[in-house]
């Protein structure tokens, strides 16, 4: 397994855990300004925790296999990245359209922003999963 694939697996797990926790802990009953404050606070915690965990894990992996970590992306890596980003782009576009629908349905800004956040998270998971799948299938 290449360093890039390991980082992709790690990021999938960290994003899944971080935003799974966010969705569980978020006070969905709150409305208005207090809901936005809760969203901002939780997002800050999630962002800091994700950055810390991913940085520490990436450093540990790089120390374990420095040659792999320093290897530049070759043409196949770039091709896999490009195809995964294209798939994620379509998911993001559909997610954005769904956010417009949610905004039409509810006037609560926190719900709309959480929908947008959900679209970004799902698109990122699709991008990472596409990359992992391509590496696994040896494409």
């Amino acid at each position: 397994m290449t360093f890039r694939e390991k980082i992709d697996w790690l990021t999938i797990m960290v994003i899944g855990l971080a935003f799974g926790w966010y969705a569980l802990i978020y006070p969905w009953s709150l409305r208005g300004v207090s809901a936005l404050a809760a969203q901002g606070g939780l997002l800050l915690v999630v962002a800091v925790a994700m950055t810390l965990v991913l940085t520490i894990a990436a450093i540990a992996l790089a120390i374990h296999r420095p040659r792999d970590a320093n290897a530049r992306a070759d043409e196949r890596d770039k091709d896999i990245t490009r195809r995964a980003a294209t798939r994620a782009y379509y998911v993001l576009i559909v997610g954005g359209a769904c956010c417009f629908a949610v905004g039409y349905w509810t006037a609560d800004l926190a719900i709309v922003l959480n929908s947008l956040l959900g679209s970004v998270v799902v698109a990122e998971l699709v991008r990472l999963a596409s990359q992992v799948a391509a590496y696994r299938m040896g494409e």
Partner: protein, 73 residues
Amino acid sequence: MAKPPFTNDIRTLRFLAGEMTQGELGDRVGVTRQTIAAIEQGKYSPSLEVAFRIARVFGKPLEAVFQWDDATD
């Protein structure tokens, strides 16, 4: 991804070149071991530059390494 319409003899040529490993070939070509494995298995079509680099490592012309497969054309 669709199988490319050509086959290759990289595995044989590696064997004839003193059982060169995929990693060694990858290092000399400038790609990863996984990319060489994917090319060997016909799962990835290399760029013209990488194809020429592979052929140059073995000291062979391009068509001695990659052959057009009329059956899948």
